[in-house]
Symmetry: C2
Subunit: 591 residues, 2 copies
């Protein structure tokens, strides 16, 4: 079945949860008003459904293939990419001085979600280009910017990120690739990289690799890593393409999902060294990477939302179509009903919907905070927004990708036996979703980042501010006296209380028992997400309800609060009293 972008919920989430209306009212998005937002979303929705979505299954079946060093993407892939770039979508968030449209991250996020719902493996390539543009824009020399940025922004060329090596995955300390200065301002790059997404392909004329490597005599560890730009084809002074650089794709992986996205092993310097240019300062490569890390993590969060939305739509359509059994209140001898009448099927669909929209709420809130951190005229406000972005980013990344897997798996379940058949398409969503909890920092690493680096920001004031906002929402729900909310107020209050206590425990324990803090990091992140997502859905329901009529937003907020957010007290226990159980693992694994 085809994908239809949920423009209504996307716009409602942007406006009422992420605060687009306030951004506009504050004058922070002069290039954008409500009407233009709607128009962009409608156009993106159309392109996603009409052009990209039909490629999803084709891409899965054909995959990308490697032969004699050449990677061929699936049929229609290149044409769709070219049309997409020519329509200007690649340039949406890019800086205006390099041909971009400079539109807010919030709008870009909505579009990113749509591309990824339409075809996850397709949309992944351009996400890497976004990262390359950001790194280059923030840290590249004028020469590099002039040579590469316009082509990357237009989408004529694509960018990649070359971090991982066989011995250096989550731990970049172990990185071994080398860069030797030639003396003319260039470097000779040698080394082996693995898991390089779109490391080689036939979609663009040139590919701009960003490569982490060590200079001779660089300090050990991550303080000795530098970032280099290494193009597939060298670029002549007139901008035309010159020689093929000394790099090649030495293999592509056979993966569980995202078959169309070529995951490449890259060999740099077989013939003496690929020519590269330093980005930013020597030995400061990791800092350059961190510039774009938060944004990349937001994009992966959006992939989680996207695949969940696609799986939800497919399961819903199946449940409305497939007939088995009869409704409880059907007269005897009635014909079979669509399975959506069965309470357990409804429960599954509501769970899929509630998780998806909660993840969307959190991810879009990150995007808004990112915009505010860049656009607020007041420095203190920019800093506050930056800290808000910093805290919510790992939560969005881990929660949205976790629920991406869960929702895709439940989607298979709704389909029954048909879900297990590849032709149905439900299984592909699970296979595709499964990467997003791993790459761009595993979800375990997101949780560690949250508790060790983010909670202490501004002495805990940043997280306190977020919790205070949640309390405001709870207060509004309780004051609203809207029957459709059911027990939403009480359940969310319990969740926020649990989060606050767990946060205090984390902040009090971080200095004395880091092992205990790390043992509880993952349940803590989930607890945070339940409170943040649950209040996000409630915020939307408060804004969209009318009179006393039940609405989809009310029902979704209620389901999340009453059925999902009720796990909060258990997660609090796992945080504050669970470290002993994790530590006892020693008794198990020593045996």
């Amino acid at each position: 079945m085809n994908y239809r972008a949920p423009v209504e919920d996307i716009l409602a989430t942007m406006r009422h949860v992420a605060g687009l209306d306030r951004l506009i009212a504050d004058g922070l998005t002069p290039e954008l008003d409500g009407d233009m937002t709607q128009a962009v979303l409608d156009e993106a929705a159309k392109f996603a459904s009409d052009v990209i979505a039909p490629l999803n299954r084709i891409g899965d079946k054909h995959g990308s293939t490697l032969k004699d060093g050449v990677v061929t993407t699936p049929p229609g892939w290149k044409e769709a990419y070219t049309a997409w770039a020519q329509a200007g979508w690649n340039a949406l968030p890019a800086p205006e001085e390099h041909g971009g449209q400079g539109l807010p991250a919030l709008l870009q996020s909505a579009c990113t979600e749509m591309w990824n719902s339409a075809a996850f493996a397709f949309a992944l390539g351009p996400l890497l280009t976004v990262g390359a543009i950001e790194a280059l824009h923030a840290h590249g020399s004028e020469h590099l910017k002039e040579t590469y940025l316009a082509k990357l922004v237009s989408g004529e060329w694509m960018g990649t990120m070359n971090l991982t090596e066989p011995q250096a995955g989550s731990d970049l300390n172990a990185l071994r690739s080398k860069a030797e200065p030639v003396g003319d301002g260039t470097y000779r790059i040698t080394g082996q990289k693995i898991f390089i997404t779109y490391g080689e392909h036939d979609m663009t004329e040139n590919i701009v690799h960003l490569v982490l490597a060590r200079l001779p005599d660089a300090p050990a560890g991550t303080r000795g890593i530098s970032l280099f730009l290494v193009p597939k084809y060298l670029v002549n002074a007139d901008g035309s393409l010159g020689e093929h650089n000394d790099l090649r794709c030495s293999g592509i992986e056979h993966k569980l999902g995202i078959h169309a996205s070529p995951t490449c092993s890259m060999a740099f310097g077989d013939k003496g060294g690929a020519i590269g240019w330093l980005i930013g300062e020597e030995n400061r490569g990791l800092a350059c990477m961190f510039t774009m890390m938060n944004n990349a993590r937001l994009n992966v969060a959006l992939q989680g939302v996207a695949i969940a939305e696609r799986a939800y739509q497919q399961a819903l359509a199946f449940a409305q179509e497939r007939k088995q059994g009869t409704a409880l209140d059907a007269p005897k001898g009635a014909p079979m009903s669509p399975i959506i009448v069965h309470p357990d099927i409804r429960r599954m669909l509501m769970e899929m919907r509630a998780k998806t929209q909660a993840a969307r709420a959190i991810a879009y809130q990150v995007a808004e905070a990112l915009d505010r951190s860049r656009r607020e005229p007041d420095e203190a406000k920019r800093k506050a927004a930056a800290e808000r972005t910093a805290i919510l980013t790992p939560i969005a990344k881990a929660y949205a990708t976790d629920i991406g897997v869960e929702v895709a798996s439940t989607g298979i379940q709704v389909h029954g036996g048909m879900g297990f058949i590849e032709e149905t398409g439900a299984a592909q969503h699970l296979r595709d979703a499964r990467i997003a909890t791993i790459y761009e920092g595993t979800n375990g690493i997101q949780a560690i980042d949250l508790v060790l680096r983010k909670l202490p920001l501004s002495g805990g004031q940043a997280v306190a501010g977020l919790i205070a906002e949640m309390r405001d929402v709870v207060g509004e729900v309780e004051a609203a006296n809207t029957p459709g909310f059911g027990r939403t107020g009480a359940r969310l209050r319990a969740a926020v209380d649990a989060l606050e206590r767990a946060t205090q425990w984390m902040l009090a324990t971080i200095g004395s028992d880091q092992g205990a803090v790390l043992a509880g990091a993952t349940p803590y992140l989930k607890l945070f997400a339940l409170a943040q997502g649950g209040t996000g859905l409630a915020r939307k329901a408060l804004a969209t309800r009318a009179d006393d009529k039940p609405t989809g937003d009310l029902a979704t907020a209620r389901f999340f609060a009453e059925i999902l957010a009720t796990e909060a007290p258990a997660l609090e226990l796992a945080v504050t009293e669970g470290a002993g159980a994790v530590a006892d693992a020693a008794a198990v694994f020593a045996a």
Copy 2:
């Protein structure tokens, strides 16, 4: 990496959780003592590791293929099956009068777990044969038994179950296949069946299909369904094979997992009708199916345990091998540590282990109850054991297969990027596990069966008995005063309290609001599993602990109680106060 059967935990679970020691002491297993049990387990473990396990990846890569009506299983498949059957493993549980060994279901269950850990898609075929043997033994005529049983028991022939049709999946009312009496005691069978596991293959000379079909003028609905035996090759009076029957495999499915298990579309009667023989009485086919349904569901539960165990072993081995980062207490500049030192990795592995062993505990308890329901001399005790089997079977099936998916998914996560690469083998476990929540009655249907048909047994006394047993275990844990239990007693008490209240609510509501009961069925089943599994692990830890030393069993029971069973109160709320949120789905899906 290879599979090594966890014989120690299997035996401890059989003895201390499922009560093998009591079975033996009560004289109910005269053919089996403790030493012989250990000997059988050791032999099975050896066969599983040495012969079957190496086929797992081969089977996944090659799959079974269909060409010109012939299904070819992967290389080595037939030879391994033949060796397995010749070693007597197929005959283990079968009746002695037909060449079986008549060993208890509990022992058979342990072996079934091992075969499925070794290669899920391989072990699935013989499970269908077990069902065919049971149906034939219980309901077949003497002629059918004489002709088919010995060959099915020896494994020379395999059996299948032909239930599903395109329009009749979970709802067998809609079944359309026909059976016309010929007048000579045989029937002409016509119809299309789908999703027939091992419906056609090259592993045995003959295949004995059990087929549900309707007689002319049979009543509508499930009361008009009869069961027929329809062999692939007709059998001559001397037992030799005769003509090919009028049936064929018209297609095999391209599936997410269990690639080596051929999932066939079967066409019966293209040339006028396949010759079949009635099993049991006319129009009582469903009752015949139900004879074996509980046992089949137990076997699928064991598949869930099996795949979880395999995924756990693989993730554990990886975590002990793969080096990234350093331990918290490592000196500065220390070399990288195996990732198992990291608390979040330990948390994941402990969760995998605790879920797997809890599921094993529940499944083995079902097997023991099944044995008691067959072997107790006292009728009242047989009935009590049968009711216990009836209640625990859907819980075992749904919980074990749900955690099978979860554990396999977490196994991928532990592997990081390597987990997404098919060559690693971790992804196959998730793909294979994903079917078990669906077939043999979806897990939603298990939950409905539990609350509508099983809870009311003996006016609620059967379930009350199980809860009372859990309370005894909680009391023992609290009295034990063993530091390694941590807060296990308090957490399990809270879980059992929640289960008891939810059960009372279910029994009180079932007559007045079936919609509310069905809306809470799935969370209720999970709540039951947490209490049953948690007390099962505690039982084992109580039995195996020695002095004050920490043990693996104590740590596992503690982790389950403190980190997983703490969800119980939330599940209680979903049962007793969640129906409104599910009912509100109407506001969403009507829109």
